[in-house]
């Protein structure tokens, strides 16, 4: 691995020496909104924001957000939870502490603490904004580790129609279409995507040291989204949206699992004056899980999470001195789960927040925010503060320092769960859970010179009362049945940093190299006992790299070649020797490092047709053991795709 890193740095350095062209290509003038809930240029935002552009998404040829993030960001790992559902570790934080938004709206539903990542396909995504660190002062619960906001495209041409498809091994197929129209007052964007992949078996050597998997599940998805925008007059925009998602996963041929989501929303954005704008929205999201009994032709729902959310956001600009933001949200959260002790639960949550973004001087900017959240179940409430300072000592250089409090309120599942896990143990909810709370400190600097952009960031999180399952135990009068309770664990910390170097050179060359360090110190329970950690910890070292070469040979033919890859270091996990006899103590399991690389070539024919040929896992890495955190691969994979922009066929 050391040779690999040295080689990459060498190539990078050699390319640097060939640098000639001034920079205008790091998207620093792109507008981002997630960090402050107000539009800011990327180069000026006081909150360090990682931007993944539509061009980055196209280069990655990613199907969904999981596919994209693990290619683009070091320190993000998608692995399996115990039941082979996808679990995300984002710089030491699990799925419940990273808030995913689509155009600022939350997503309903979870499985093993993570949202359904396959819902977030990359069709029609304009950009993705990623804010690391506690953002609860603006976004409330579940934003303790950061926020990932997907911003969808709006139609910009009278009409556009893109049709695309991709095939790969294991009968993996992806087909999509996006149709956009733009008139004087109305704009509409409709996107449809369908994917399929077969289940396939993977082999393991003998004597694994931990749980291995033998089947990688494929499945099929349908994702339909429509967004209609009405602009009756300048400064006022009314947006309605509707979406349908369907996924089927077949572990048992006679009983495939089905996942559906129905979403809708209405949003009014009104710029009342140069200084004032108001944004009011209603959002509906329903995520269902069901089992389809083929023999009886019954589709039986066993889970439904329904969120109805009303939001209000007001911004007032004090000319050049600052922006005041006032906001409020109301959410009704309904959960039906056959494994709840009472099957159905709901709670109302309410919050108000305010933020002042103060431009102290041309070199200094300070953002402070405070938020109050109330949860009706348990009558729980929180005050959450945040303070961020941006200093610009010279042009194209920013130094940011911030403190933010993060929190995660216990979910209805964590409070009221009662689930017999295949006779192994009964997982029990705990109505007395306290909210998990974190104190996040971050420091970052970014510098842009000509075609180079360098970002360095470090963070420290002090987490209190982490919500998790604890130590399995027998009840005094029942020595046969093990129980596993949700509880608040001891305090622990997560710290780390990231370095990213981006550049673009003459001749169509560009590259990006990112390294992330994460130190996740897993907690014990309040009595100092080692707990059965639900998920494998973060890997300490991770690296992602991308090099592109783009050339236009003629008006009718162009080519882009990309090499991208990632490296994840090995990770140690402390696990029980025997779950049934925890007196035997724990042992340290070592999970191996791995690296995966992808080579892709995109050929453009005319203006409208693109053919993508990619070799994924070009080093043909095959895990000796398919542990829960091994990459989902059984070797090299050839992918071939075709994309046609019909409006350009002239």
């Amino acid at each position: 691995m050391r040779h690999l890193i040295i080689s990459i740095l060498f190539v990078c350095g050699a390319a640097f020496s060939a640098a000639q062209q001034p920079d205008s290509i790091h998207h620093l003038n792109d507008v981002v909104v997630t960090g402050t809930r107000t539009p800011k240029l990327l180069k000026d935002t006081p909150i360090q924001t990682r931007l993944i552009t539509a061009a980055d998404i196209a280069k990655a040829d990613a199907t969904n957000v999981e596919d994209l993030l693990q290619q683009e960001m070091p320190g993000v790992e998608f692995s399996y939870a115990m039941n082979q559902q996808t679990h995300m570790n984002f710089c030491g934080f699990g799925g419940q502490s990273i808030l995913f938004l689509v155009d600022g709206e939350r997503l309903a539903g979870e499985t093993m603490d993570d949202i359904d990542f396959t819902r977030l396909n990359m069709a029609n995504v304009e950009r993705i904004e990623i804010v690391k660190g506690a953002a609860s002062a603006l976004y409330g619960s579940n934003a303790g580790g950061g926020v990932i906001n997907l911003i969808t495209k709006e139609a910009t041409e009278p009409w556009t129609l893109n049709l695309n498809g991709r095939i790969a091994r294991h009968n993996e197929q992806r087909y999509g279409g996006t149709f956009g129209t733009k008139g004087k007052w109305l704009r509409n964007n409709l996107s449809i995507q369908h994917t399929t992949m077969d289940n396939y078996g993977v082999s393991n050597a003998s004597d694994p040291t931990a749980r291995v998997i033998s089947t990688i599940y494929g499945g099929k998805t349908w994702n339909v989204k429509d967004q209609l925008t009405y602009i009756p007059f300048e400064g006022f925009k009314l947006t309605g949206r509707a979406g349908y998602f369907f996924r089927q996963l077949t572990r048992t041929p006679d009983t495939p699992e089905r996942y559906r989501d129905f979403s809708a929303g209405l949003r009014a954005a009104w710029k009342m004056s140069e200084q004032d704008n108001i944004d009011v929205s209603y959002s509906f999201d329903q995520y269902d899980k069901s089992d389809f009994y083929r023999i009886r032709h019954w589709d039986v729902r066993d889970y439904s999470n329904v969120q109805n959310i009303v939001r209000g956001l007001y911004n007032h600009s004090f000319n050049d001195t600052g922006i005041l933001t006032l906001g409020t949200d109301f959410m009704r959260d309904y959960l039906m789960n056959k494994n709840l002790d009472v099957k159905e639960k709901h709670q109302n949550t309410f919050d108000v927040f305010t933020q002042f973004d103060w431009t102290v001087s041309p070199h200094w900017e300070m953002v402070s925010a405070v938020r109050y959240d109330y949860f009706s179940d348990g009558k729980d409430s929180h005050f959450t503060p945040k303070l961020t300072v941006r200093y610009q000592p010279i042009n194209n250089m920013n130094i940011r320092f911030g403190y933010g409090m993060g929190f995660r309120a216990p979910t209805l599942k964590e409070k009221y769960y009662n689930f017999d896990m295949a006779g192994i143990w009964i997982v029990q909810g705990n109505a007395n859970l306290k909210s998990e709370q974190s104190h996040n400190f971050n420091l970052s600097a970014d510098y842009t010179k000509e075609q180079y952009n360098l970002t360095i960031a470090a963070y420290y999180n002090d987490v209190h009362n982490k919500l998790a399952t604890g130590v399995p135990f027998y009840k005094p009068n029942d020595t046969k049945q093990l129980y596993l309770n949700y509880l608040n664990l001891n305090n622990y910390s997560v710290y780390g940093g990231e370095v990213t170097l981006q550049a673009r050179w003459d001749g169509g060359w560009s590259g990006r190299l990112s390294y992330a360090y994460t130190n996740e110190q897993l907690p014990d329970d309040k009595d100092g006992n080692t707990v059965n950690n639900q998920y494998l910890p973060a890997r300490k070292h991770a690296l992602t790299a991308r090099f592109d070469w783009e050339h236009k040979f003629s008006k009718d033919y162009g080519l882009r070649a990309s090499l991208s890859g990632r490296y994840l270091s090995r990770v140690k996990s402390v696990e029980y020797v025997d779950y049934y006899d925890i007196a035997q103590g724990t042992s340290t399991i070592k999970y191996p490092a791995y690296t995966l690389w992808k080579l892709s070539v995109v050929q453009r024919f005319g203006k409208a047709v693109k053919v993508t040929t990619a070799l994924d896992n070009i080093l043909n890495y095959k895990p000796q053991y398919h542990y829960l955190n091994s990459p989902l691969t059984d070797g090299i994979n050839l992918m071939v795709g075709l994309s046609i922009d019909l409006e350009k066929l002239k």
């Binding site: 033998s214 041929p253 049934y580």
Partner: protein, 253 residues
Amino acid sequence: MLSSCHGMFDDLYDTPTESIDIREGQLYVDASSWLDWYYIDFHAANHNAAEGGTFSSFVKEAIPIEELTNQEGIERLDNIEGLENTGNAPGIYTYWYDVFGVGLSNHDFRGFTPTAPQPEPEAWHIAVHRNNVRTNHGAAYETTYTSINDLPKNSETFRDSTFTPDEWNELDVWTVQDQMLQGLIGNQGIEVNPVLSSWLKMDIPPMPPTYTLNNHVFIVRFPDDTCAALQLENYQSPTGTKCCLTINYKYPY
């Protein structure tokens, strides 16, 4: 908006009821318990059908799991250890299965607990335990028919076919699941019919296990030379519990 608080599109889904609609010539047995055999007497089943289903067509008998500590048990234990799991003695045979790796084909004998023999009712034809089936000294043959109605008029057609009797088995009748996470399962050592048991196949990998239904009609010949035609139509309860068996039968056939 109020209706949306608890979600919408309820009509997409089915609401199963626990009640089972059993047709003539059909039995429903909840055989999902790891700890019980369900004994079916077809004479009783026919009588029950004639009486409008007023009594149960099967008898439940628990699998003995308590260790036999008397002299007989001690001798059996000595014997089994000497013979290394070839003793065909009643009891619980503990095996380790590579459930998270290669699968059930990779297994290893880990221990034996002598128990009392499996109790049986006076009259019975077949017994079911999850995906396992025994016959009362019968033998089974798998036809290629997928409907009992399509079978030849009587069983004479299958007179020269090769019928398979019950065979000793200490790998499939999973009974004790206390150590399942470690891959350790306590199995009852008992004779089961491998052909008839193939009507419901359980596979590991993957985890959790997959079940595959074989909808062929099976012919079972009993010692009194009577035959039964049997077909597994479904293995799930209305609420999805596996090993709840809906059995089509014709007896005598």
